[in-house]
Symmetry: none
Subunit: 352 residues, 2 copies
Amino acid sequence: MKENLDNLLPASEEGFYPIRTVSEVTGVNAITLRAWERRYGLFKPERTPKGHRLYSQQDILRIQQVLQLLEKGVSIGRVSNALKNETELEDLADITMQSNSGKTLNKNSHNKNNDNELTKQFKEAPSEDQWKTYSEKLLDAVNSYDLEQLERLHHEIFSLYPLEIISRSLLRPVLTDLRNQAEQLQSLSGNYHFYWQFLQQRIGGLFLKSTLQNRGKKILLMAYGDSKANVELMLFGLPLLTHGYRVVVLGSDIPFDAIPMTLSRAGSDALIIYSAAPVSQASPESDQGGSTQTTEMMVSIKAVADSLKMPVFIAGEHSEAESKELDETNLVQLTDSAIEQLKVIDATLSKE
Amino acid sequence: MKENLDNLLPASEEGFYPIRTVSEVTGVNAITLRAWERRYGLFKPERTPKGHRLYSQQDILRIQQVLQLLEKGVSIGRVSNALKNETELEDLADITMQSNSGKTLNKNSHNKNNDNELTKQFKEAPSEDQWKTYSEKLLDAVNSYDLEQLERLHHEIFSLYPLEIISRSLLRPVLTDLRNQAEQLQSLSGNYHFYWQFLQQRIGGLFLKSTLQNRGKKILLMAYGDSKANVELMLFGLPLLTHGYRVVVLGSDIPFDAIPMTLSRAGSDALIIYSAAPVSQASPESDQGGSTQTTEMMVSIKAVADSLKMPVFIAGEHSEAESKELDETNLVQLTDSAIEQLKVIDATLSKE
DNA sequence: ATCATGTTGTACAGATATTGTATAAGGAAG
DNA sequence: CTTCCTTATACAATATCTGTACAACATGAT
């Protein structure tokens, strides 16, 4: 799974970069780089037949980690140990990730003890206030518009924890934080947009790639309401991706009239309609209008669901509000929990 | 000169180019080209019966890929391996972007005719009604919601032609087509959104990756008006990416008040404000209101540009409309042509 | 405080590699 | 005949390699 989802960044696993390039990129003198290697063995770049060093992208990443530690005040001599610790952690995480991906395969195919596995996977969330630390780091990176750092952090996080948890425990809260910040202090709204765009690009790529690689059933994902909901929509859809479904994001501006045609063409197995958090309630014009609009929406959704021959799920904020009205055959309501969502979806779709 | 043209044109029709042409187009000294071929086997152009080299379009592409890698910092001796690696990875993350990076080399070698190079490169667009064929194929794929086919097509196109040309000659027209289609027949709007999302994810990933790898100056890219402008914005920004700039997309909803703060934090070298095509004029409420709003916008932009200490470019539809008002020190207007845009931006930023 | 020792970035020197370009001698194109 | 292209060899300017050394500074013991 790590391999699959994560190599958005590592353009070249092998070493291609000569020392001058690495020196330029990292800002570390070439002489110093050699000294570090010789003295502390911080990295072991490949060599050409004639002995010239060939650094890989990962080597560069390591060097940047070293620099981060240096900034923190760790002396270069100790960095070696610190790094060892971290890589041990990573290796552990790799193992858990792999077991996860193993589950992924099971999911769509035959699998009885869904419950245990799923639950276990989520309970094993190796998180505490660690998320706080990450959250702060992310906000720092956003604050200084440091794209490299942002990528580095996400790279690390994505390779350490399951996407489901990251989405819920870190990315969504951080994004919400930034949005609130932006609403309070308009001059900071650049931060929100910066991170929003980053996530859009980062996770968007992930989506495309995973959906192309996955073999599971095809789920269409759309939102209504906030047109800025794209990223939220994708964050919501991440768990589906990691469980093997092919998820096609359709965004938030599709008129309901177009849905039947779209679905029949797309050959999908299910539709999920997601309502973003009502946030700033978008248009400040109508407060009650909003609610009537919502119920109107619900009526439309029902109609659509009725006319379709496939399961339709709804998720997001509305679900609680009008939960009782929903008892259609193929209109299923999703709770807020990713575990539950997956259980319900798996169950419903395996009936087909 | 005549002779040159005569030589150039018939040759280009057949798709074979003598070495001098290739040298001019790519900016690589003919001697060097031969050396690369001999020493590293980077390409093996056809030969005339008497042994003269005949480069195909593909060969030129190869060379441009090489240049791309050189710009990334790979040493020429390793490019061969890097290329092998890249072609092995039929990986979304490894979309090879070809296009000139002659600038780098030009600085090393002495080269006068920058102008010619750029112009020629664009004129040589290996396109005719070939774009029509592609366009139809794309529309077919969208129509049947065939993500795999869509990806296959883009992969092929992206690896065959320079992104600048693809963006202008294919992607933008197709997207516009779909939008018009959607406006006329609402039930087809799913198609538009499907392709929109695809491009968002596909090109978004490209953006992130390239911006992380590029070393050039940092350009912030924002739009105003249509909030669906993200994809258009990115399509507009593609040429910048392929020319080594780091391009940070900020989207379309940033209030002007937030710009100064954002720019000072982001440490960018320039700002580009892009106005999407007025399309369906978004809100059908105010027609005249729209224009006053636009001029208001212009005033704001001017104010912002004045207060900033970096070049501010504006591009898109408005530029023609109010072109005459713009004579600020650091507010530069971009024409519709990617060549011109790049020339102007390069020139302005190299002054800094 | 003093002296010894360790750390760390950088410098130097001599050898080898890399890489763009130059030259020479001859064939090909027009 | 002149210009371009071919190959092969050569060359010069950098880059990089290794190993040793040094200077600035920190640590620690006497």
